[in-house]
Assembly symmetry: C2
Homo-oligomer: 214 residues x 2
Amino acid sequence: MKLHTYYRSSASYRVRIALNLKGLEAEHLPVHLTRDGGEQFLAKFRATNPAALVPVLEDGSERIAQSLAIIEYLDERYPESPLLPASAADRAWVRQIALAIACDIHPLNNLRVLKYLTGPIGLSEEQKQTWIRHWIDLGLQALESRLATSPRRGAFCFGDRPTLADCCLVPQLFNAERFGMALDAYPTLRRIEQACNILKAFQNAHPANQPDAE
Amino acid sequence: MKLHTYYRSSASYRVRIALNLKGLEAEHLPVHLTRDGGEQFLAKFRATNPAALVPVLEDGSERIAQSLAIIEYLDERYPESPLLPASAADRAWVRQIALAIACDIHPLNNLRVLKYLTGPIGLSEEQKQTWIRHWIDLGLQALESRLATSPRRGAFCFGDRPTLADCCLVPQLFNAERFGMALDAYPTLRRIEQACNILKAFQNAHPANQPDAE
């Protein structure tokens, strides 16, 4: 397998964690999102993903975009060390946490949106920071509330083994910290983050530990 | 089952289509997103979903948020009339289309984001329209390119039966048209939309046909 990835991309980070948790190897093909105006916009990469976004997984002749589609694919195609629980209700719980991050938080703060805000929209750096913090705080407040009160939560988002939800949570918290946010208001999320980051699968997926890290 | 829904919410619309395609009934509990500052912010609704977003599905004691988590749940719990194909690779194809809409287009143009742009950020109505069209066009261009060239496409996004991908595509195109966008540049997407909207399942899920429509 091959993974088109960028070290600091939150969505690529999710897939790297999932691959590691499942003990799967993929050759990394770095796509530098800011060099020369962004390598994701080159015709060569667009042929792989017309949306010009990482990550993309290549498995044989398949080219799969969208981090959550990739992780679900890996879990179905390589069922060992499952990243989703067994019952429909438990799976829904895990997916709703993953999607709360992938749909409600991350899309508002990724590189292309921030560039559009400070470019065509003309926001100042300070306004951009306010925007970032607003959406991250709103999303994390809801997640903290949901996780703090759920009997499904264990050391991880669901029980005592990492799932798809943790694959999404850890990169989102990394992002929040990169933007200089204090996470004191989210003790449950932080405890889960700590439980994850003890594990080699999460450590090896960390942006700082990628071959294309700067 | 009960569905907390708002007639014009794109994410609620997705779930209504899925329920109809599967022949499932759910009592509709309307949540008016703009009346009295937004019924989703009331303590009563927040107890159901701390993120203050629709839709939420209640099935017995389960309360599931996030439209894609709900649809996957319905498909696993009530397997008749599946909304995902059988093979892992085909499922990944369908999911990546659904997620390209749910993560890359819709989150940038939903009500709370548009309100924040014209409120705290101070965009004019015209700037807001430019923002909306920018992200919808960017997302639909990638989808048109992906679908126009794929051997997996049939009358619908995948083959000749509607799937999760169509549940997401039709509400997104409805949204684009509501914002006054011409869709001539997306002939493949429009053909799929037409194939869907012939079906009762899609017609009955349309915002105009909801009890809470205004």
